[in-house]
Amino acid sequence: MPKWGMVIDLETCTGCQACTTACAMENNRLPGENWQDVLFYAEGEYPNLNLSWLPRPCMQCENPSCVSVCPTKATYKDEGTGVVLIDWNKCIGCKYCMIACPYGVRFYMDEAPIVEPDVREAFPASGRRSWNPPFKMPDEYEDASKGIGIQPKGVVSKCTFCYHKISQAPEGVADLDEDNPETREFTPACVRVCAPKSRFFGDLDNPDSHVNQLIAEKGGVRLKEETGNKPQVYYLSGGGSPVVPGSRSRRS
């Protein structure tokens, strides 16, 4: 069984946010609630100013604190893919996973809208769905037990690595690459649209995978290693700059 992981090359990432937009379209996200976000960091003052950015999906940790704290096992690690998923049928909306995630990549439905006006009012809900967006994935992809589809009220959601795509990938494949016609359809939306090709997606348990080669050759690092969560998302920074821009203390 594969253990899917992602490599993001910060040297080639342009911060264009195509990944954010593709994710929002693919996964029916509310405006501003970006499962795949690009964080911007401005440091210094004019004329010595530096603007940098960091793409940040869910880290799909090997040892996820969100799974450990969930009192109902609604958040769980899928054994077949190594992806952290949420069973919306069991989520009680206690938000403890949001408290415990060191990367801040989880979202609660019943919150004040991040972007006004609230599109949930413009596209009111039908059935179990909390809203009814004009853009949405085909109904057959929806799976509440994996947190895929339109979020019901009172539950938490997060990036699934496009589980509805990657779980259909041919068995034994080492990488899911948009340039390979055989794997294009199974590649996560954020990887598939990345114009400068800064994102790579593959099996971390397969020594022949391209992602493993990149991690080994270019010194892939993970965020917040001190938490022990062991992310399955690796960053390449060329070794000349810190992985997380603006990571120095913000204490005044």
Partner: protein, 384 residues
């Protein structure tokens, strides 16, 4: 019979409780009505938490405040029922009914705050996520509520019964709930303001201190805030053992509270800058000096310790101060945004919404309704 003459006439006491019940029902109707109206009209979005980083707001502050007060009160009652400390017999029954009242007030607020509270009832016990402190908290709170309910039912059916052996279980569960409630926060290594093994101990001391304050305040309330109406043995308890315990617990709370603030101010670690913000707020100093240091002095000096008015003042200040401390702890722990870009402010700002204040009013109203009804009809104050 001599003891009965030390209390207000039975008819007067009955009217007193009825008045208390009516006032509590008004609060319950106001708070509950507003909350239900908001939920029906706008949904739980009105509870003002947001995806920017403040996930647990005033509702969780209220829930934990009432829950820990309840467990503390059960521990106070255990002093008589479990340890046989005779001095605490006059307040044990009152403390137990107040424990149930506080528990109900807190749990109702939690149910209103949770996204899917009914799913929690089956999904939590059936899925056995033993690594989650919340799993244990839910289980323990459930067991605590049931065992406390059985003890109180026993009191209604056998009002003259003495110490109840089941109180050993209630006391143990109250202790466990309090410690696990501390672990819910203390285990969060990614939240520097919360993280630490001392948090369960802090919660235990605060829980006990709050319970003593509630016992003192409601004992005076029962006597119409007239010290002279109080039974001699209760008066002796309040001027002696209970007051000393109260003073010691306030002192310990002061040391832990001030110690954590000083550590936070001293530390360079990212995340601890919250303390600079908190200490700069007048609310922090009102809570620390007005609601901790002042009651400590009032309970240490013999002259003020034996003064009924000063006892009421000390108890009321501690009750208010604990709510502020709980608020600062829970909100403060979330004020540093986790992994946001520089577009996010250095510290997140939060103030409770009208709906969240209404939840507090609802909890106060419900807890007082339960207690006043129990005092009026179920004999909660018959031998107090």
């Amino acid at each position: 019979m001599a003891m009965m003459t030390d209390t207000a006439p039975e008819q007067g006491r009955s009217n007193h409780f009825l008045l208390h019940l009516m006032a509590a029902l008004v609060l319950l109707a106001l708070g509950g009505g507003y909350v239900i109206w908001e939920i029906l009209q706008f949904g739980k979005v009105q509870f003002n938490t947001n995806n920017a980083g403040i996930h647990w707001g005033m509702a969780i502050v209220t829930y934990d405040y009432f829950l820990l007060t309840s467990t503390g009160l059960a521990m106070v009652a255990s002093l008589w029922h479990v340890f046989g400390i005779k001095e605490f017999e006059p307040v044990a029954r009152r403390a137990l009914w107040l424990a149930m009242a506080g528990l109900m007030g807190g749990v109702v607020v939690l149910f209103l705050e949770l996204g899917n509270p009914w799913i929690a009832l089956w999904a939590t016990p059936l899925n056995m996520q033993t690594s989650s402190p919340l799993f244990w908290k839910v289980l323990l709170v459930g067991a605590y509520a049931v065992s406390l309910g059985i003890v109180l039912l026993g009191m209604i059916n056998k009002p003259d019964a003495g110490r109840n052996p089941l109180m050993m279980l209630v006391g143990l569960l109250a202790l466990a709930v309090t410690l696990v409630a501390g672990l819910v926060y203390g285990m969060m290594a990614m939240r520097p303001v919360w993280f630490g093994g001392e948090v369960p101990v802090v919660f235990l001391i605060e829980s006990f201190m709050g319970a003593l304050a509630f016992t003192m305040f409601f004992s005076h309330l029962k006597n119409g805030f007239n010290h002279a109406n109080m039974r001699p043995e209760t008066r002796l308890l309040f001027e002696g053992t209970l007051a000393r315990m109260f003073a010691i617990s306030i002192g310990l709370h002061f040391i832990l509270h001030a110690g954590r603030a000083l550590t936070g101010l001293w530390s360079n670690a990212e995340g601890m800058q919250v303390w600079e913000y908190l200490v700069a707020q007048p609310l922090f100093h009102f809570a620390l000096w007005g609601c901790v240091a002042l009651p400590f002095v009032l309970m240490v000096l013999p002259a003020t310790r034996s003064n009924g008015l000063m006892q009421i003042l000390a108890a009321a200040l501690v009750m208010i101060g604990l709510l502020i401390s709980r608020y600062e702890f829970i909100i403060g722990g979330q004020m540093v945004p986790l992994f946001k870009g520089t577009w996010a402010t250095d510290l997140l700002h939060y103030s409770p919404s009208n709906g969240e204040w209404a939840l507090l009013v609802l909890a106060v109203g419900l807890a007082n309704t339960v207690y006043a009804f129990a005092a009026w009809k179920l004999g909660a104050e018959d031998r107090a």
